[in-house]
């Protein structure tokens, strides 16, 4: 299917916070109470519309265990957006946000949009991290913030789409150089900037990490 832009996303955060479940809810609109654990990386894709334009999201869902950190680090390359997820019922997953953020900032493009997500908002009775704490952390570090539930689908759609809106806005403002694929953005085949770039006419493979 044709698209105006392709954005690469990466989902990061501690193991068991619901990264894969968020992705499944977003791409397939369903919830698996017990999901297979992720080893290495898994993928999802979905088309969304922003400002009347078709945008394809290519989503990299990474393993959360610390041992895998050195491997998943290379997956930041070329990401335009990151969803940094913690579990509102497990404080340690919130406490680790700083290390995740340091990692993300260090290994990604400086313009990458980061959305902080407090997941499992349906488990209010077991809440261990206040919503205000998430908001404060996001404010302090310049992130967008939302609480979601992959189970009830609350805010899931919004989390993915608002991140894309932010990226789209940055393109409009000229912050992102869309001709540089290292930014995690690719122009769709029908929008190829100029016919003088023969390699882009096939809409397929050109060098960098996304296509």
């Amino acid at each position: 299917m044709s698209y105006a832009y392709l954005f690469k996303y990466i989902i990061i955060g501690d193991t068991g916070v619901g990264k894969s479940c968020l992705l499944l809810q977003f791409t397939d609109k369903r919830f698996q109470p017990v999901h297979d654990l992720t080893i290495g990386v898994e993928f999802g894709a979905r088309m969304i519309t922003i400002d009347g334009k078709q945008i394809k999201l290519q989503i990299w869902d990474t393993a959360g265990q610390e041992s895998f950190r050195s491997i998943t680090r290379s997956y930041y390359r070329g990401a335009a957006g990151a969803l940094l997820v913690y579990d509102i019922t497990r404080r340690d997953t919130f406490n680790h946000l700083t290390t995740w953020l340091e990692d993300a900032r260090q290994h990604s493009n400086s313009n990458m949009v980061i959305m902080l997500i407090g997941n499992k908002s349906d488990l209010e009775a077991r809440r261990d991290v206040k919503k205000e704490e998430g908001e404060a952390f996001a404010r302090e570090h310049g992130l967008i913030f939302m609480e979601t539930s992959a189970k009830t689908a609350a805010n899931v759609e919004e989390a993915f789409i608002n991140t894309a809106k932010e990226i789209y806005q940055k393109i409009q403002d000229g912050v992102f150089d869309i001709n540089n694929e290292a930014n995690g953005i690719k122009i769709g085949p029908q929008h190829s900037p100029s016919p003088s770039l023969p390699s882009s006419s096939g809409g397929g493979a050109q060098g960098s990490g996304c296509c």
């Binding site: 654990l37 080893i39 990386v41 898994e42 895998f68 493979a205 996304c210």
Partner: protein
């Protein structure tokens, strides 16, 4: 031996349950680098996420506690390795076939093989040599698909990590995975990489036309209806000799090259 380690793991789990989270995180930084015994706390999160469709490893299921003790015991037996995701799948397959003490021995021996040592210790340099060697055989056996993968940036780590860490038990139907294990035990680690190439060969006609995201999705979630006979036929077609050199020889030369570049 198993009993001792299992007991130690139990103590460790009790300890962490008793103490509050603050004190656990206080002591973890100093132990984390040299002693990965602390990773036992992660095990409980993963037990129920191991073969969820079988419904026997979940809390309350007949194998939940066994799998938990086996992995805990291993993390205490090998604190230098600890618990790494992927292990629960291997341990689960063994538990389905033998009693827990034997499963523990097999598990420890299996993880002591060079390839498993490299991967489970996340020895990035060694993993790179394995990937490079694998790519040599990929290029040799399926040159056009190899070019397509390079062009679309589908690197081996994207799909091989899952396949190798779980020894295919997560990515292939269990009966097929067990057949792979049988030959892996007979032929050694090169068979793991031969299987990967067999999978690519089986689906070559589909893969060659796909763009990055479809390739990545396909390889990290293989079709459930994969046929055992056609897969093994396609594995058989894979040539594991390049200019009369075997997998192990090429791996050795990659290591050698790597060492030279380091100095």
């Amino acid at each position: 031996m198993y009993e001792i380690c299992a007991c130690r793991a139990e103590d460790r789990i009790k300890q962490t349950c008793d103490s509050d989270t603050a004190s656990v995180s206080d002591c973890s930084p100093e132990v984390s680098t040299s002693n990965r015994e602390a990773s036992v706390e992660l095990i409980k999160l993963d037990i129920s996420r191991t073969f969820p469709q079988l419904c026997i490893f979940q809390k309350g299921g007949p194998y939940h506690d066994l799998l938990h003790s086996l992995l805990g015991a291993y993390a205490c037996y090998r604190p230098d390795v600890g618990y790494v995701q992927g292990m629960s799948f291997i341990a689960a397959v063994l538990l389905l076939n033998m009693d827990v003490a034997d499963a523990f021995i097999c598990f420890a021996n299996l993880l002591n093989r060079p390839c498993q040592v490299a991967f489970f210790r996340i020895d990035e340099a060694m993993m790179k040599f394995y990937f490079q060697t694998y790519e040599e055989f990929f290029k040799e056996n399926m040159p056009s698909l190899f070019r397509h993968f390079s062009k679309t940036n589908v690197t081996p780590d994207i799909y091989l990590i899952d396949w190798i860490f779980s020894l295919y038990s997560k990515s292939l139907p269990l009966d097929i995975a067990c057949r792979v294990w049988d030959i892996f035990c007979r032929d050694g680690e090169e068979f793991l990489f031969r299987t990967a190439l067999g999978i690519l060969k089986l689906y070559e006609d589909i893969l060659i036309h796909q763009e990055f995201i479809l390739l990545a999705q396909f390889l990290t979630k293989l079709p459930e209806d994969i046929s055992s006979d056609s897969l093994f036929k396609s594995i058989e077609l894979i040539n594991m000799n390049i200019d009369k050199k075997k997998f192990s020889q090429i791996l050795a030369s990659k290591k050698e090259q790597g060492k030279m570049e380091m100095t």
